[in-house]
């Protein structure tokens, strides 16, 4: 007799991969319905669950390609990318990478970046909450120590960079979007900050300097080095204004001052 593991392996092979030898080994019994039709019910349920989960995470990708293209893409994706969690809500992080090499999507060069943006939104929505920065403590950091500060970004912060205007693509494909829905792919790329605030997840465009600054801070670089990078990316970059904005908007939620300077981690 098959062990439970053998039976479960055979079930998986029969449902996902249409393995007829595996199906025969299950010795399905009873009823008027043939074994193949019974296993097909499960195949449809399983793929349907993944389709629903990915449609919830990637509504704009789905809208851009249409239902039947999306379903076929999900099926290909599922076979090559085994789910590793019992929580299907978190499935599909590699969908953007998959789309980049999915032949039928070859002509939609912007599609993987739209998927990356949607994944970032999904992740931002479930990231940990964080208290705002301790502004008084930050103000108390001696000027000489400021360059050595390292900032902590809100756990929801994601930076998404694309050579395509993905924010406009995303916006005109929202269910409540009205008006012009054509986007000129030649209008230039986007550097986007995705984060969750009190009003939910927001997406905003970043200038070259801000983009370099936040990417450096996210990589735990000191403020001095991050500033140098930002100024190089954008001559005349207004550091003070950018810091004020991202502290007030809680993109930056904590800092670490170097010893022996006074200061504290928040």
């Amino acid at each position: 007799m098959q062990s439970l593991r053998e039976l479960q392996r055979a079930f998986c092979a029969a449902t996902l991969f249409g393995d007829t030898t595996a199906l025969a080994s299950l010795e399905l019994v009873g009823g008027s319905l043939q074994a193949g039709a019974r296993i097909e019910v499960y195949r449809n349920n399983i793929l349907g669950n993944y389709r629903k989960a990915l449609a919830a995470t990637y509504p704009v990708v789905r809208r851009l390609v249409g239902e039947s293209f999306f379903s076929a893409a999900v099926e290909h994706f599922v076979l090559g990318h085994p789910s590793t969690r019992g929580d299907v809500n978190r499935y599909g992080g590699e969908f953007a990478m998959f789309l980049a090499s999915y032949a039928p999507a070859r002509d939609l060069a912007y599609l993987p970046d739209v998927a990356r943006l949607e994944w970032a939104i999904d992740q931002a929505n479930i990231a940990a909450d964080a208290a705002p920065i301790d502004v008084d403590a930050l103000a108390g950091v001696p000027i000489a120590a400021q360059g050595s500060l390292r900032f902590t970004l809100h756990p929801s912060v994601r930076l998404v960079v694309s050579a395509y205007p993905i924010l406009r693509i995303w916006r005109v494909n929202q269910p409540d979007s009205v008006g012009e829905d054509r986007v000129d792919l030649g209008e230039g790329g986007d550097a986007l900050l995705v984060r969750r605030g009190s009003g939910g997840v927001s997406i905003e465009r970043l200038g070259e300097g801000e983009r370099a600054l936040l990417a450096a801070l996210a990589a735990n670089t000191t403020l001095a080095d991050a500033t140098a990078g930002a100024t190089e990316a954008e001559p005349g970059f207004d550091l003070a204004a950018a810091l004020r904005r991202h502290v007030a908007g809680q993109t930056i939620v904590g800092f670490l001052a170097p010893p022996p300077a006074r200061g504290k981690r928040t």
Binding site: M1, Q2, S3, L4, R5, L7, Q8, R9, F11, C12, T15, L16, L26, E27, L28, V29, G30, G31, S32, L33, A35, A37, R38, I39, V41, Y42, N45, I46, N49, Y50, A53, P82, S83, T84, R85, G86, D87, V88, N89, R90, Y91, N125, I126, A127, A128, D129, A130, P155, S156, R196, G200
Partner: protein, 278 residues
């Protein structure tokens, strides 16, 4: 102080489209059930909403992904997320399914049928013991719908289900719709099922609709419970006594009023059953 037991009344499954309305209107409903995995998050609006709901209603955490019947080892990462959520929410009940969902580390993310063998029973009971030890409480386990049966079955489904409860001390979440669907799909008398289940083990009942458009009944939670399911529900509470009863709806989710109407129907039957018993 959070309720540690579900009230013996009718509740509904809380789904995202109804969240705002429930929070603002606070309908008179006995309790709410949520899918545990939808709150396996570090923070954000969903968890905040559940915290708020929790202060108004008894909440049941109903898991769909722990895969108690997999030959693979118990998924400890999943269990620790469930424990973190249970510690935070202090639910009135924690339930899971009598099924499997992963093999060799590959998850299929569905409620898959087990063979009714001694080996499967032992594995299932071992996993339930471990989950109950980790959570520090008895869990409820639900009988699932099945669209096939295995040739290696060594016992009837109801013997298998009753054994799980007697061996582990866990409680049963008796899904009347799933019993009916399986009775039709596999040709047995649902009364035989009822008679095999000890009343004291049943801690909750589920009611839902099925899809009869195909060659076998599919448990799709996409409509009102069918008349024969209501009849079987009446027989169930006559046999088990009144039990906390949940209306589940997961596909083509209708207006909240439809769910509340179904719950009111279950509530009337619970009260009628109570009156007869009294």
């Amino acid at each position: 102080m959070p309720a540690t037991q579900l009230p013996v009344s009718a509740g509904i499954g809380l789904r995202a489209p109804h969240l705002t309305q429930i929070r603002t209107e606070r309908p008179a409903i006995g309790w709410l059930e949520v899918h545990s995995e939808n709150y396996f998050v570090d923070g954000g609006p969903a968890l905040a909403a559940l915290d708020a709901i929790r202060s108004d209603y008894a909440v049941s955490l109903h898991g769909v992904g722990l895969s108690l019947g997999s030959a693979d080892a118990l998924d400890r990462a999943h269990l620790s997320k469930l424990k973190r959520l249970a510690d935070r929410i202090e639910p009135a009940a924690v339930s899971e399914h009598l099924c499997w969902g992963h093999v060799d580390g590959r998850h299929l993310n569905d409620l898959l049928p087990l063979p009714f063998t001694e080996e499967a029973l032992e594995i299932l009971c071992d996993r339930i013991d471990k989950v109950q030890a980790a959570l520090g409480r008895a869990i409820l386990v639900e009988n699932v719908s099945a669209y096939l049966r295995f040739g290696c079955d060594a016992m009837a489904e109801w013997e298998f289900v009753a054994s799980v409860a007697s061996r582990t001390g866990c409680k049963l979440l008796f899904d009347v719709n799933n019993v009916y669907v399986n009775a039709v799909n596999h040709g047995f008398d649902p009364r035989a099922y009822l008679e095999a289940i000890p009343a004291s083990a049943v801690a909750e009942i589920h009611l839902a609709g099925f899809d009869a458009s195909g060659a076998c009944l599919i448990d799709n939670h996409g409509s009102r419970a069918a008349p024969p399911v209501w009849a079987l529900y009446r027989e169930s509470i006559e046999r088990f006594g009144p039990k906390p009863t949940l209306i589940e709806w997961d596909t083509e989710i209708p207006a909240l009023d439809v769910l509340l109407d179904e719950a009111a129907k279950a509530q009337r039957m619970l009260e009628a059953c109570d009156a007869i018993a009294a």
